[in-house]
Amino acid sequence: MIAIFLKRILLAVPVLFAVASITFFLIKIAPGGPFDADKAVSPQVLKNLNEAYNLDASNWEQYVDYMTGLIQGDLGPSFRFPGRSVTEMIATGLPVTFELAFYAILIALVMGVFLGVLAALKRNTFLDFIPMAIAMIGICVPSFLMGPLLVLIFGINFELLPVSGWNQLPGDKILPSLTLGFAYAAYIARLSRGGMLEVLNQDFIRTARAKGLAERIVVIKHAMQGGLIPVVSFLGPAIAGLLAGSFVVETIFQIPGLGRFYVEAAFNRDYTMILGTTIFFSAMIVFFNLLSDLAALWMNPRSRDV
């Protein structure tokens, strides 16, 4: 197990290095400099700006510079917000995005596992069909539609919940978290139903029932451990999807998180910010994939001794 862990970490380092390098050079070949879009500046000012940001050095020098900074956790200055560094901006946006993602995952897990396990246990009854129909809705209604619809219903028609913001009004975290969590609740419900159905047919479950264990214990202690492995393996990739979802949700609800910063950077052509966040997102996703693979490995008794 430790060997697998070390091997995966060793693989992650060159991958991230490659991501950083490719992104860096992609941005270098992008047409136009970062100061083109502004009002016309005099050549002297432009020259000074380029000098200040070290843009007149050769690409190779800039690359070595950037990579040296990267190892020390310095992602360079933001081109659009003078005086602020990319690291600093990530540090402000990250806690917000993390909190949002955490609530969303929590909603997704609680709703998804509950509905999925219920559907598997009550297979082919209406307690199976209704949760699965809801799950299909969750998969087919994208977050960029679900969010506005929730706002329209709960925010505007019934005036129950705030329509935007984060941590400013009571209850303003509910709609964004629901929007982000709902699609994942749907996937998790389907995965846990499938996983549970597979496990419930196996011999050890029959043995557990035959020896007279309460159904509750059979389900919770015996079946769920194996039946939920697909859910755990899904969580890693889900984190990646959650980040992408946070772009949309943070834009809809005007939440000052990392996702919205990224989308704004993309619009403003804030190249250093794009570069920094891309590398940062990649590192996080590689890390969470690692974590979920390990958790799934650990839950599966067959692979525990490997």
Binding site: C140, P142, L145, P148, L149, L152, V248, V263, A266
Partner: protein, 283 residues
Amino acid sequence: MKNNSLWSDAIYRLSRNRAAMLGGFVLVILVICAVLAPWIAPYSYSFQDLNLGASPPSSEHLLGTDILGRDLLSRILYGARISLLVGFVATGVALVIGVSWGIVAGYFGGRVDTIMMRIVDVLYGLPFIIFIILLMVIFGRNLWLLFGAIGAVEWLTMARIVRGQVIGLKNQEFVLAAQAMGVSNLSMFKRHLLPNILGPIAVYATLTIPQVMLLEGFLSFLGLGIQPPMSSWGTLIKDGVESMEEYSWLLIYPGITFTITLFALNFFGDGLRDALDPKTSDN
């Protein structure tokens, strides 16, 4: 012989599956509407009725008009062209890359396989949505680039599925016989392997289309996908959101169209999977 009976069996099973047939029916109607949009749309997608502005559904404009006085039904019909085109073309790109990658890796095996599949594993772990956004920022928001970028992201699962299938096939007698006759690699892939794995490919392709359409909608919603004056369902939803407080129909009708299409594609894809692989239809 066997091939024929597999397909006719599958078609029989598919025709018994009501949800899948309904999905397929809706899809056929949508494709026809999209193709015929210039002829059946009541107005041009850019025609502005300057007397109207945003107006609710009426007998002249069945689904109402947007803020600029453009007929919403016509815009949805024209948007179907772009949305479905992205869905099919990007899936096609993913199909070509994924199938070739998977066949080569699975057939040659050994070190080639290890390296190729390790690359797939690594790519799986990367935040591709960010790369698409990056590409759109760097190279401008171009429709063909969008097809390529989305297709280049969605091929990974296809490669894995195809590789698995080819590994299962490559030690069967007909493959060994073909090898003994000295068939070239290319015609081995085209004539012997590909026809035998068409089923799983068809299933996965059908299920990839809705994912691709979601991705396009997502990008267009953020303003990074389809650019005006062209419109896709994603951009219509984006416009609808901006004015939903006063003119909710501008959000609701494009939203319903998009959702129904995704439902249809998913139901049809699930039905196709059950029809071609009866073993999995239980769960």
